[in-house]
């Protein structure tokens, strides 16, 4: 039943950005397409402004945590959070990073260009874009996670991700999410 292909992916953001939903639909799609799948959600006190970090391991029978320098992709819904977990990326991996900053109260924020520079030195490919702007274009800022899944989709060994997203988003938000996924897809060929 289980397929051979493996894909390790990290989805990271701050509380409320939809990391849990994005990783959930990834896992559900993998399960339906016959893969073994395991993920680890680390969200301690995320509802109170903290980081949400999810490891998703498609086709893996190991533990839920991805080892350092071995993730095939990272989806960073917020730029600084993306860099916080970039050490998990494989040297050949792909980073998909939203350039829209969510400031951290009481801390200085490094220039986004310096973050992207470090990311470029870390992995094989960087897709950097203002995904928050695309989410607004799609009709709702909350579709940010679906925009970024749209960009991730072409890397995945999965074929039905879009259908599973459509099934899981609230009915009234369906159209915006379909648009968001398609807008994200357009950026999948872009690299730095």
């Amino acid at each position: 039943m289980a397929k051979d292909e493996k894909f390790d992916c990290i989805v990271v953001g701050i509380g409320g950005q939809g990391s849990i939903f994005a990783s959930g639909v990834l896992g559900e799609t993998a399960l339906r397409e016959g893969y073994e799948v395991i993920s680890a959600e680390t969200h301690g006190m995320a509802q109170r402004g903290g980081t949400v970090e999810v490891h998703v391991r498609i086709g893996s029978s190991y533990g839920p945590l991805i080892p350092l320098r071995s993730a095939d992709a990272i989806v960073g819904l917020e730029p600084a959070e993306c860099l916080r977990f970039a050490r998990y990326l494989s040297p050949e991996g792909t980073a998909i990073i939203n350039t829209h900053v969510v400031p951290a109260a009481g801390s200085d924020y490094p220039p986004v260009a310096s973050l992207i520079h470090a990311l470029t030195a870390t992995c094989g490919r960087v897709i950097a874009y203002d995904a928050t702007r695309l989410a607004l274009e799609a009709g709702h800022p909350q579709t940010l996670n679906v925009v970024m899944l749209g960009t991730l989709a072409h890397l995945l060994p999965l074929t039905t991700l879009e259908d599973v997203i459509a099934e899981y988003v609230p009915k009234k938000a369906l159209e915006a999410n379909v648009r968001a996924f398609k807008l994200g897809q357009k950026y999948s060929k872009r690299t730095l």
């Binding site: 701050i14 990783s23 959930g24 896992g27 559900e28 993998a30 399960l31 893969y35 073994e36 799948v37 395991i38 993920s39 680890a40 959600e41 680390t42 301690g44 006190m45 995320a46 509802q47 109170r48 402004g49 903290g50 980081t51 190991y62 533990g63 839920p64 945590l65 080892p67 350092l68 320098r69 600084a80 860099l83 916080r84 970039a86 050490r87 400031p103 951290a104 109260a105 801390s107 200085d108 924020y109 490094p110 310096s114 973050l115 520079h117 470090a118 990311l119 030195a121 870390t122």
Partner: protein
Amino acid sequence: MQHSSRKYLLGNEAIAYGLLEAGISVVSGYPGTPSSEIIPFIARNVERYDKPPHVEWSVNEKVALEVAAGASYCNVRAAVIMKHVGLNVAADPLMTLAYTGVKGGLVLVVADDPGCHSSQNEQDSRRYAYFAKIPCLDPSTPQEAYDFTKYAFKLSEQFEIPVILRPTTRVSHARASVKLHGHDSDQRLARFEKNPERWVMVPAHARLRHVELNKLQPLLRSELASLSSLKLKKSELGVVTSGVAAKYVEEAVMKLQLEPSILRIAAYPMNDDTIVALINNSRKILVVEELEPVIEEKVNAVAGTVEVLGKLTGHVPREGELTVDVVLKGLGQALGRFVTTNLPVELIAVEHSLPSRPPILCAGCPHRATFYALKKVFKKSAIYVGDIGCYTLGVSQGTIDTTLCMGASVSMGSGFAAAFGGDREIVSVIGDSTFVHTGVPGLINAVYNGAKMTLVILDNNTTAMTGHQPHPCTGETATGTCNFQTSMEDLVKAVGVQGLYVVDPYNLSETEEAFVKAKDGDGVQVVIARRPCIISAKKAGALSKTKKRVTSTCKNYFASCKICGTLFCPSISYSDSCALISEDCIGCGVCEQICEFDAIKTA
């Protein structure tokens, strides 16, 4: 749920399925990360059953275990759910429950938290299992958590003994494909056979039951041996591992292209035979387990001249959670190989520049206002004795000086008061759920023994930190039915406190006034600061109707006062020392009340 199916489940949901399919009649517990999702999942799914189990949030873990024990004495299956530190609270009934044993299967799900993701310590529940001389099952994946849950009931009934199922954070909060096998046991009718020698633990009976408990030990060891797996290889190195660490070992040996013999322990008490078989086949043993060196001590006891490496030799860290990378390092060290991960210097440099995002109280959290007023009245010199909950975050406002365990704020407060003999102001701070959990006995004790202190009950009408579970003062139960609401005021009054004030923390002047009265009052003074949790209020739609818009006309000619900064509100930021109000402001209006320049307005 009648036939086999595959689902993508959280470890805790897999455990909940296991409990339902095992035909439990009663499930109880107290919320605590990482165990909190189990009871709500069962509560949401009981309607599917003709005869749904009794599901309850109990007031604390001791009570929860006793509820489950009562049911189990009546030959029905019962489960009790808690986090590791909850077992400290439930330890009293547990130790003697091992003597009486049980009738219907009784399973304690106790979730450990290596790395203290959301806990005040990283104790190891396997130690409790040894202490109580009862079996402990140690799953490594959500699938095993499900399978072991069902097996735990059979084991419990076969030996008439309570069983601990001990998932860790990376099992409880892992999500994975889980194969469900369907319903395998029906609920039974309750029947209790009176038998004082079995159920009444007076010394004469307890002595005999202790003999019976000890007699069970070798039987348990041989029964549980089959759960462990031993793969012998032609290798000098043998690895012994357990729980999620067993998965890290699998991956690490693959990465290093090693083929050591591996013994995976899945249950306790451990059987010597399999450990001896591994030792006889190896020249060097590495033990990889999370938390305490429980297995390592056992291996050391039977190892003879074979070298045993692990936590006691520094090959595996004693604190924190393990990862594949930690295991890689330990394996490398054991083999005299240097294993390291190279990170680009550019990345390391940037990691140091990343902003920190420490958890803070939500925008509009009523606790923030209470803490502000508290600090203003009782000043920096008072000692603020804290407790377990969101409000521990009040440490940034300087109004939490200690956090020990559930309920300790009240009783430690009376200890501080006794030590200072009235020379210092003592303020204990506790949440509503924690007050009901173990704060009440401390309050009775403080009043009875003549403490001079102020107790502030931060009443947000929920157990907020763990995901908004109800308790007796909320008027709701685990299944949502509203049958009774304990009055916190009546409870406090009945204890005999000398002053009781109930305030709305959003109203700062009213709150400060109550604190002043409490400060000047005699004996134990109680202030209940009452306002629903802002997350509950948002979910209930209570905000959209009343939401006020807050605007700032702050100019830096107000001498960069930053008075509103002392609130540590995530909706307030500064640009050129002028306060800015962000869009996520919920309009509580507390900053308007403290601004001395009338620069913040709500409308």
